[in-house]
Symmetry: C2
Subunit: 155 residues, 2 copies
DNA sequence: TTGACATAGTTGCATTTGCAACAAATAACA
DNA sequence: TGTTATTTGTTGCAAATGCAACTATGTCAA
């Protein structure tokens, strides 16, 4: 059912396309894990991962680091707090700010998912081979450095 | 505002994270273009790009190629038709199917965006350097081959 | 032919999202 | 000070999304 191909534009050589396609494939696999196991959404896991990796910080800081939208972070934090994975504390020096920190339970989940993530990544490296994996990492880092200021968190 | 770092898990060396981060940076840039210029959403552009690149096909085929959800394609097609960018024709051999094809206007928009895309990509290659660009492409292709069957379309 | 099953596409509905508007606190500075 | 701008975080609302149910059409085989 295809005709009129348009060779001038190689969609499949278009970097944004490749990037999204790859990201989608890879993310879905890991997302399935934290979703099935802990009922976490993507955003929730992202917030959690940042707190787990970098320690307590405010919502805005999470936004800056992860490039997740304000509102989304706000709502994810609400859920994570309700579920006992993190606590919010009004900052004493600036009462607009809330310091977010993982609870014991939150850290436990984070640790468990870290292990899963490591395994996932190892399997991925095995699938595409160490050379491709290295190439990929190099390219991605270059991109992130070139495009974004600080880096962030994702699944 | 950071403490308690957890060196065991290098979030910033976690491939799904890098991938998403990079994809997000890059996509947003191009998305801004087709959104501002033609009011297209991401999905609409994806549908359009597939039709533009591969020629007329049915909605299901677009789903298969792009991994976009059925419903989403259906709705994007509705809008694109309303806006005069594509036509749907009941297939004569199977009246369940609709053959989708870009109109003249649709092809014009596609062509214009292709040019933008090419420029965008060139600028990106320049930013990160040809070596990194090549490495990235190699890695991404390996990934897509390893993980997904057919490839798709993205911004 | 009939009946069971598969496929293309749409629609209903609950959830998630983004954006703009907002309240509260703080900063800046005339 | 008083006044104006910024920053943090939340909420309202409309749009986008995913999933399941549904219609219409086709296929296969008894």
């Amino acid at each position: 059912m295809r005709d009129t191909p348009r060779p001038e534009f190689e969609l499949d050589a278009f970097m944004p396309y490749l990037l999204n396609q790859a990201a989608e494939h890879v993310s879905l696999g890991f997302a399935a894990t934290y979703k099935a196991e802990y009922g976490l959404t993507r955003t929730q896991w992202r917030v959690m991962a940042n707190l787990g990796r970098f320690g307590a910080m405010s919502a805005v800081e999470i936004c800056r680091i992860s490039h997740i939208e304000k509102t989304r972070v706000s709502r994810a934090v609400g859920v994570l707090e309700r579920d006992g994975y993190l606590t919010r504390t009004r900052a004493s020096d600036d009462r607009r700010r809330e310091d977010l920190a993982l609870t014991e339970a939150g850290r436990a989940v984070f640790a468990a998912l870290c292990a899963r993530g490591q395994a996932y990544q190892a399997e991925m490296a095995a699938r595409i081979g160490p050379q491709n994996f290295a190439a990929l990492e190099q390219g991605l880092r270059a991109l992130i450095v070139a495009y974004g200021e600080t880096v962030a968190t994702d699944d």
